[in-house]
Symmetry: none
Subunit: 431 residues, 2 copies
């Protein structure tokens, strides 16, 4: 089964927004063994959208269109689909009732312009939207099953998972398992090594003609090892996939924190809950990012009690008791300061572990001795306090992001009884 993805919107075609929906949807479809052969991004031009839909409907079995279902005049996807199908738009009573209920529930009166969202091409059906106002549309055109979802990533993803995937699975089952091949893919997420180090460690596992095939991708400092198994049946694919995953995990050791969508903070919170331990944060250059990452995880309140954002030196002193003389003698970015921050945070919050960060995120503030990317990390534990120096590369955003991830991985490795040396960006000892 082959798929074509269409993303609609001037802001995408003109490059004001990067289309992330297509990559997400293509990856999702790949797990079902569906090859996305083409993505197209089309501007808000009804004729052009209709032409693209028409062309795609002769080339693919599945078309997923996102965007252009909103209530405004530049939202033209439903009209274009009707044009491609050669039919009129008709009102869907149930969708109109849903729309009215959506607004009523929130105490708003529905604007007239929203009414268009309850119309769909004659012969097509509506798909209820669980998290927004615009229902989706499902239709058949030439050889293709066509699904239209809203462009808002959250709504698009929810609709693809709840409606498109099950519908496609039904179609695949109807088509008969005999002809099909199964593609299973997974990602093993690591933090601590750069991509070329990971590739060196993986060695022969990365040979291109291997099945399952192994590749690497880096995103925001997380190096993910992708494994993709292509076999005639699901049992064999599953077993081969897991066999290779085990090999990758053996090679990468404790730098591996999770599979697929698992984030470093999710892995850490899970471990803290399992070990019944608590953590607090004392942040300077990361400015609350570590706390924000940890609280991003549902249920984190049992493991993360909170922390301090001591961005100014005055707050480091008044709230965490870092003596002004220490800051004066060693600088705010120093081993002494992060140790004082971590120990004070641990003592004041009563946690088991407190992690602290102070660094030069840039673009200004660097010196010869402490260039941009110089970050000190402190960790107070039940068995004493340690500090490490990280030398990070990149701009302000990436220095802060990597510093926060180093902090999370430091807590995680310590909880596991593993060496901090698994994080390659940290100096070997506390210098």
């Amino acid at each position: 089964m082959q798929a074509i993805l269409l993303s609609i919107g001037d802001e995408l075609a003109l490059g004001q927004t990067v289309d992330t929906n297509s990559a997400w949807a293509a990856a999702k479809l790949a797990t079902l063994g569906i090859s996305t052969v083409l993505h197209e991004t089309v501007s808000d031009d009804q004729d052009l959208i209709a032409a693209s839909i028409g062309w795609a409907s002769t080339k693919a079995d599945l078309i997923v269109i996102s965007g252009g279902l909103g209530p405004t005049d530049d939202d033209l996807t439903r009209q274009a689909l009707a044009q491609a199908m050669g039919v009129e738009l008709v009102e869907d009573a149930e969708s109109m009732a849903d729309l009215e209920a959506f607004f009523a529930k929130r105490g708003y009166t529905m604007a007239d312009r929203n009414r268009v969202q309850a119309f769909c091409p004659a012969g097509a059906t509506m798909i209820a939207n669980s998290c927004g106002t615009a229902p989706g549309i499902r239709a058949t055109l030439n050889r293709a099953e066509v699904f239209v979802t809203p462009g808002v990533p959250r709504e698009m993803k929810a609709m693809i998972e709840a409606d498109v995937i099950p519908a496609v699975q039904t179609k695949l089952a109807e088509a008969g398992a005999a002809e099909s091949k199964v593609i299973l893919a997974t990602k093993i997420n690591t933090f601590g090594y750069g991509e070329s180090d990971v590739a060196t460690r993986l060695g022969d596992l990365m040979q291109r003609d291997r099945n399952p095939v192994v590749g690497t991708t880096v995103s925001d400092g997380i190096c993910s090892v992708r494994v993709r198994a292509e076999f005639p049946n699901v049992d064999e694919a599953q077993q081969q996939l897991e066999d290779t995953v085990t090999k990758v995990q053996d090679v990468m050791g404790p730098t591996v924190f999770g599979r697929d969508d698992t984030s470093l903070q999710t892995a850490l919170v899970k471990l803290l809950l399992k070990e019944d331990k608590t953590v607090a944060t004392a942040e300077s250059c990361t400015g609350g990012m570590i706390g924000s990452m940890l609280t991003d995880v549902p249920g984190s309140s049992a493991a993360y009690l909170g922390g301090w954002v001591t961005y100014s030196n005055a707050l480091k002193t008044s709230q965490l008791g870092v003596r002004p003389g220490v800051i004066e003698a060693h600088g705010a970015v120093s081993k002494e300061v992060v140790i004082a921050m971590a120990e004070s945070a641990k003592q004041r919050s009563g946690v088991d572990y407190a992690v602290s960060v102070s660094g030069v995120a840039g673009p200004g503030g660097g010196t010869e001795e402490k260039p941009v990317g110089t970050v000190w990390l402190g960790l107070a534990t039940p068995n004493g306090t340690t500090a490490r120096l990280a030398r990070l590369i990149g701009n302000r955003t990436s220095v802060r992001d990597r510093a926060a991830k180093c902090a999370l991985q430091m807590v995680r490795l310590t909880l596991m009884g593993e060496e901090l040396g698994h994080i390659r960006w940290l100096a070997k000892h506390d210098v």
Copy 2:
């Protein structure tokens, strides 16, 4: 002049990598008045790439293809271009010499597989690559001028700036200024109203046949009004664009916080610095996100002193002096608690403004009285303290994100002497 962009690669089509090249190139071409009507991402399939090139060459004047010029077996763009042109690949002696020199300079022997990179379709010409091994290709096919660049973003961007843009400018000049047009585009970013409210306010400004044309896009709660002016010369385009921008700003009032890439936190920090005021944060459900956003802005240390992440009730009491009886009587998500948090944060840090947040981010923790999305925001100012109730929609991630943005916009509006009612998600009064 109309352009079509093609990005080649399985990793893009399968969604393992997000295509950021196309958005960059489209934005670049737009500044020359070239409309990108379509992007296409095509998998590593020679026939499909050739078909796409052929089709595009009848629809557009300019085709920019990136990717598939590498030395490995899955790099098929040069072969596909030759196929679309109906010609053979021929060796380019100069490129071969360049390639050999590239490797020799680095002390490597060129692998045989690299030789293919010095071949191009008969009748096409090579474009030297200033920062990698793969030369680009320039050809003419049907009505289109075709440029092929490497897929590596750095190499693609360098080649577009050094070769594609000048060539296109020459073509535009040859075509005569009379026929040419200039497209200028900008975004006006607002926070406080939903998309349909913004559309209602914009009214006739959003008519599709208007020039400059006005559209809206929502991303993470930020509603951006896009303005796109298409005129014969740059002066007129500029004047018309700014004229429409002024109209949009008049209609949207203080919800407008900036143009183009300006973030809400950047606008707030800039305003704080201008007014010589300081701010602190006291966060519960946002867990450090507001601090993280503020410190994302270079130079924010003069405006943002820091804050507290009092995720647990114990820390609310021990660090911000919120009396346990208050939490017991009203709950952690209450007017009384956010007022106490904001006032204590202001007093302890010595800032001019302190903002506090406590809410139910979900997925658990909601009650009938305080469902998921219930967020209290407090703001302590030199003229007293206020609190507002926000009822937000969405999952944990979006509730937290919107809550943080409401907090930033509350500080901003207050600094400007504007009503908090410009944020539509806030209850009118402090309930």
